[in-house]
Symmetry: C3
Subunit: 188 residues, 3 copies
């Protein structure tokens, strides 16, 4: 059984590329969105009603929820291959928040960490077009910087867990190629 | 109570920008210089008389002093907001020495890590002008490299502690803007 | 007694520069190739006959072998200065595998970590010429990327162990200068 963490900044096309790669993987993998799992676990405990309420929770409750979600994933991974869809870091007004701090990461204990990257110009264009989500368009330089930060963080994650590191480039108009590459790396 | 670590290479203008930011923060924060704290603790134990003597101490004594200083900071942080002014790494003839190795870092347990950066050309010019301190002017490339190293180290610090990461740019002639940004990030 | 880890990607000229540096160090240092040590320990236990068989072993056996080799090095380091010749990360079809994951690294507990780097163009040329080893020539960009990854990983290693970090540049036609610099840093 294998646990793969897939990360990428908003607008890199992570969701689309994972969906397409999954079709090539013939359903042997269960995708778990880390944020959604945390939300469902907190909702069940009646601590929140909506996702937005999560970030307003007491910090210790958020930390506990993260660790509980990580334990849940480790538990699921005993019986099947898991793909964890999550953020390497989250850009906030306070700065960059690490998506998977050491204790959370070690609980998940991934075998593989894959970063989905796209050109910063393309991500910028996608964010500007995307009016459905309340996304900060940022600047091309800011996007470049965030992707660089995520590379550094992901490599630290690998030192702490032995996970194998890869980057998959998601180029506009080449989603098929990217998803094929992603499927091959996951299956390797 | 919040602990903020602020780091930056010699000549980035860290001291000036912190001083100015503090005025905007209305004195709610106590600044602790990590090196000074270590020195005072070692001096009190009669192990050194001057700061320069610190680096000549037996390595294990230096390590113990670092950890004791970190514990002192954690203790102070129970009662007030702390800003730790320190080095991310120190350039020596032996190579780059990490300013906050894992055990020291975990004892401080920062909520926030802020790097002060300036353009490498500006830092080079400041170092050349500065005759009062025995600073190695280095080269523009060497300064660029040191700042890049510090970004990598600071991000690893964040994975190990959950600290939120930010960079504040300290541009020549724009100290007011930089210090305002720094104050806002500390206060966020 | 001092433990120095020296790392560099295939084609950076690590072996040559270490050999030459050693002559300047007057035999006070014992060089241990990490992969060879693992191989010999596994061979003695009759688990493998050739080096190639190592990567086909059960993953847990590989992990144990790595940790046992690290313990052996720590043991040797009690009596003499050790230079560990190893890989920071290994490029595989699955992605980049970290050469020294946290537990292995902490067992070795290095005082110093040195990366040998060369220009990516030069490494590319050396790999193309080198027909004796089954090396993937990769692309100049791929080589550049691998060296960048290794910088990030090596810095994380330093945070986890207090090791002092250096890079030595191995330029074609300047092996003497590079090896002299390496010897000085090791001896510092």
């Amino acid at each position: 059984m294998k646990t793969t963490i897939i990360m990428g900044i908003p607008g890199c096309g992570k969701t689309s590329i994972i969906e397409l790669a999954l079709k090539k993987l013939k359903g042997e993998y269960k995708v778990v969105n880390f944020g959604t799992l945390m939300f469902l676990m907190l909702k069940e405990k009646k601590l929140v009603k909506t996702r937005d309420e999560m970030r307003k929770l007491n910090e210790q409750i958020q930390i506990d929820a993260q660790e509980k979600a990580a334990e849940k994933i480790a538990d699921l991974a005993k019986k099947q291959n898991i793909i964890v869809d999550t953020h390497c870091s989250i850009q906030t007004t306070k700065g960059y928040v690490v998506g998977l701090p050491e204790p959370v990461l070690k609980k998940i204990s991934p075998d593989q960490i894959i970063l989905i990257e796209a050109s910063s110009e393309e991500i910028f264009k996608r964010r500007v077009k995307d009016n459905t989500r309340a996304r900060d368009a940022d600047s091309v330089e800011g996007i470049e910087f965030h992707q660089q930060i995520n590379r550094n963080l992901a490599l630290t994650f690998c030192v702490l867990t032995r996970a194998v590191f890869s980057i998959v480039h998601n180029k506009t108009g080449r989603l098929l190629i990217g998803s094929k590459e992603l499927a091959e790396i996951i299956h390797a």
